[in-house]
Symmetry: C2
Amino acid sequence: MNAPQPEFPTTTPSFTELLAQSRQPFPASRKSYLPGQLHADLRVPVRDIALTNGEQVSVYDTSGPYTDPDAQIDIRRGLPSLRAPWIDARGDSEWYVGRMRMALDDGGRSDEALRLKQLRAEAAGLQRQPRRAKSGANVTQMHYARRGIITPEMEYVALRENGRREWIAAYQQDAEREQRLVGNPLGASIPRIITPEFVREEVARGRAIIPANINHPEIEPMAIGRNFKVKINANIGNSAVTSSIEEEVEKLVWATRWGADNVMDLSTGKNIHTTRDWILRNSPVPIGTVPIYQALEKVGGVAEDLTWEIFRDTLVEQAEQGVDYFTIHAGVRLAFIHLTAQRRTGIVSRGGSIMAKWCMTHHRESFLYEHFEDICDIMKQYDVSFSLGDGLRPGSASDANDAAQFAELQTLGELTQIAWKHDVQTMIEGPGHVPMHLIQANMAEQLKHCHEAPFYTLGPLTIDIAPGYDHIASAIGAAMIGWMGTAMLCYVTPKEHLGLPDRDDVKQGIMAYKIAAHAADVAKGHPGARARDDALSQARFDFRWQDQFNLGLDPDTAQAYHDETLPKDAAKVAHFCSMCGPKFCSMKITQEVREFAAQKGLAEDAALAQGMQAKAQEFQQAGGQFYVPITPVN
Amino acid sequence: MNAPQPEFPTTTPSFTELLAQSRQPFPASRKSYLPGQLHADLRVPVRDIALTNGEQVSVYDTSGPYTDPDAQIDIRRGLPSLRAPWIDARGDSEWYVGRMRMALDDGGRSDEALRLKQLRAEAAGLQRQPRRAKSGANVTQMHYARRGIITPEMEYVALRENGRREWIAAYQQDAEREQRLVGNPLGASIPRIITPEFVREEVARGRAIIPANINHPEIEPMAIGRNFKVKINANIGNSAVTSSIEEEVEKLVWATRWGADNVMDLSTGKNIHTTRDWILRNSPVPIGTVPIYQALEKVGGVAEDLTWEIFRDTLVEQAEQGVDYFTIHAGVRLAFIHLTAQRRTGIVSRGGSIMAKWCMTHHRESFLYEHFEDICDIMKQYDVSFSLGDGLRPGSASDANDAAQFAELQTLGELTQIAWKHDVQTMIEGPGHVPMHLIQANMAEQLKHCHEAPFYTLGPLTIDIAPGYDHIASAIGAAMIGWMGTAMLCYVTPKEHLGLPDRDDVKQGIMAYKIAAHAADVAKGHPGARARDDALSQARFDFRWQDQFNLGLDPDTAQAYHDETLPKDAAKVAHFCSMCGPKFCSMKITQEVREFAAQKGLAEDAALAQGMQAKAQEFQQAGGQFYVPITPVN
């Protein structure tokens, strides 16, 4: 049995076939790349959607090279090292032999040596020599930012957040015409155009991070911060000995295709080291892990046998592989554990309970807390970002916002300042289970104690009675806290609390969270976020059915649902929908209102009255035809 | 083609079989009835869920007699007339011959006469002689309430809203121990216990309605108001000539089984009168309609041919059948139409555009507005409630909260006061498409202009780019506006904007809206709302899997998801879940923390420290066993 992780059918279609499918470009979409200015070699991806009216809409694209038909991809060699030249050019890191690899890294037992050998052979083409900072150097994006350096990663992020701003100009003018359309940032300060310098400032002050381990040069850089688009994270994990490279990579590609900005590899059990090679070398998005899971495997699952040395060794192992951020539950302090005693659901974080167990057993302060500066020393040699774990997060509405949760949050704030002393990028993990009326306090406390370090929440779930639908129960909380300032939302699937998400559950979870993140961007007034809504609404009003599907988050499902009722192609251009049918269409009326109002330039009702009179006669003369003429569709 | 309506497979299983399935009681659940005090003959339904630990949880039950195995139901005769004795006892209404039935009522044409004859024959057992108020009398619940009368309907509602408060006492004490658990009512004033007198006061001041046409005596009375549980509405509609009694009733039973508090019959096209007989006579929940749809059918779909006389005749027709509330778009005034000219998506309400078309064509004020008092005179003879339609609601985020929308809302407020002058119960319909940051203003404007008459919103959808997932995009807005004070939420299905919802879409829409409504109740601090969450969380913590499933909104789905991963029955009692697996369980750790903390009564960390030391030794002596002992499950 393993930690939370999707399990995928190993039956037909094979993962090789699924991977091929997942590489198909989206309908009417073309991947194109924006060039850099400060750094000319940048190629920042956007997805251009061609509309049937000749317009073009460009959207943020997380899918990496996989949806680019021109990209030559061999998952046994891994993706091209996009960032290698940038890292080289900085000249502050060096190749080195790296930590010696051990059977234990894969939780290997002798009886599995053979299988392990096969797996490693498969991964042979994915081995890379590790880099680390030269002695005394610090290779974090925060370190560069604080020295006034705008890295290629920072410019990349700026271009990516802006996308093609040209096309949204018209929509933005609408927005600026009326205050109601501008959004309410609730303390965020999002500039109309994201400049590379703005990205640098945000990273320098710790308000945004760019997870980018120097040993993961394959990533397309992205930013997590309240003044950027709200991002989402999807969790995947290996299926132990059953998994293959194709299977692992297909999960990853599937998740990023639908919009995962980050992916956490929560693998446990066997072959996790090798599986991580497969994932990292083929991932265009930052990868996060919870190193304590692997460390626990190394001590046979006995929490109290964990030591700083074993944990440290695991950090180095994963940093050398290229993991971009580590969830570390350093806020679970000995003194806080008893605060959970009266809770309804106690400690629900796996990492949190591992550390609680360790602290109780040894009656000692957490080694993660005591060695926090040592951890920083490792992080800054590779630019691994902290995701400070909320090991004491509430596991039910009735434990929300309690003393244990907020005591830990305050500690995470202290640790943030230590991390920043080392220029280590840091984000803060948040709950969990929180009713709507307690969500605001979570954001307020986090901003207060954690100095605007990016907040990264799991949901929160607003109710506890929806097993089977927790992606919805949590999307409500996620949208609200995203609006309030949370920078990244960790998805929840329909299987939460019940079982292991399968391929469709992963998609359902991602869809619910893309909705939450976009709703937050629109409410915050992220420049251009609303433009896509406007483009789709316009297509809806104009009966451009195909454009409606293609502008949506999931064109396949939208079109499939439409075709269930009106399968004929004729319906794709029909001036009606199955809601009202051909006999009557409210949109049609509006077009009449508009033409009419436009002709008469209705300034006031007097003009209206007169115009109406005239229009009334026109209508009657025209026989008051009311049906919308269309070719019949059964 | 027809108006929004679910279409159901006529293939196997037959609707008779489906209906039988839908009559199955929920797992571990028993329907029982609470007796009245003021009115001894009341039998108010609750669903008692027996937990495996001997506790019992009781929940609000919308499913009517259908889930009562003792109920003898013949859908060709209709449900028993629960309220008949109460209505008789009031002695203010009389039987009368009623309006003469016409072929046009069913949109009948000669070529369909035979089929129509068959359908009517089927419905023969469902014919009832109508009642109306005696000359000069007023039979509305509001009229009684204002005269200080507590009707059986009011006491029924009080008992129903309270449910079995005994079982939640313990949970309520928890809640009252800590302010954070109490909720934030945002202006609602929900008493700890709902008394019949409180219901009377709320109805008298118009802050709640009890939709209850005297010609629909079959209903189990329910209340719609901000100081009661948030309710949800599901839309159904006939499938024209293909439909059968079984099909129509099965849709209804399916919707109420999953939690629809109200159902709107949006049928259009043929046989709507007869279909309405089928639905009303078999419905335990209030039924709403949009009479203008049928009126439009009567004039062959030509909006400008509508007349007050035809509309009036349709109101009487439907009032005599027993429709409990009418959506009437009387706020679409001639002078407001040009305000929609610059909108991105114009007028999207079907009723709104019908009236706009009529006003434009004749260049006259809406006959609904001009005859509003005449309409009140009809409503009060049957106790039909107003649902004042928002014909100018926004159809996209970019039209939200604009001049047209708020001009109409203000008019609906004026009309509310006219309705109240006649003691006619009234609620107000709301949008629609509204980004999160504009939702609060909708509630504030409604409260300001409509004098706390119940608000009944469609969503609102927070974004426009999620076709195929609009039940989620709208559940976010629905939960928020429900918390802010909206009394009833009209569901949105995944097929919204795309096609006709099928049976599963209806369930998906209802689930999303039960989640939104419950999240709102919890946030508002509705007494006892949170208790069900607590009971489920406790079951989760105690590894009472079966109780987790049975306490959820959809036990079938929860159990099915769980069994996909851990099918063995052993897993139902296993002290682990598939998230962490048998090897490690965070809940187990918490139990250790708790026992320990309980023993030592940890007042402060000193005690903790000492206790920890001791506990540490215990652990080591016990060999620090860390695995959770369970029977292996593959």
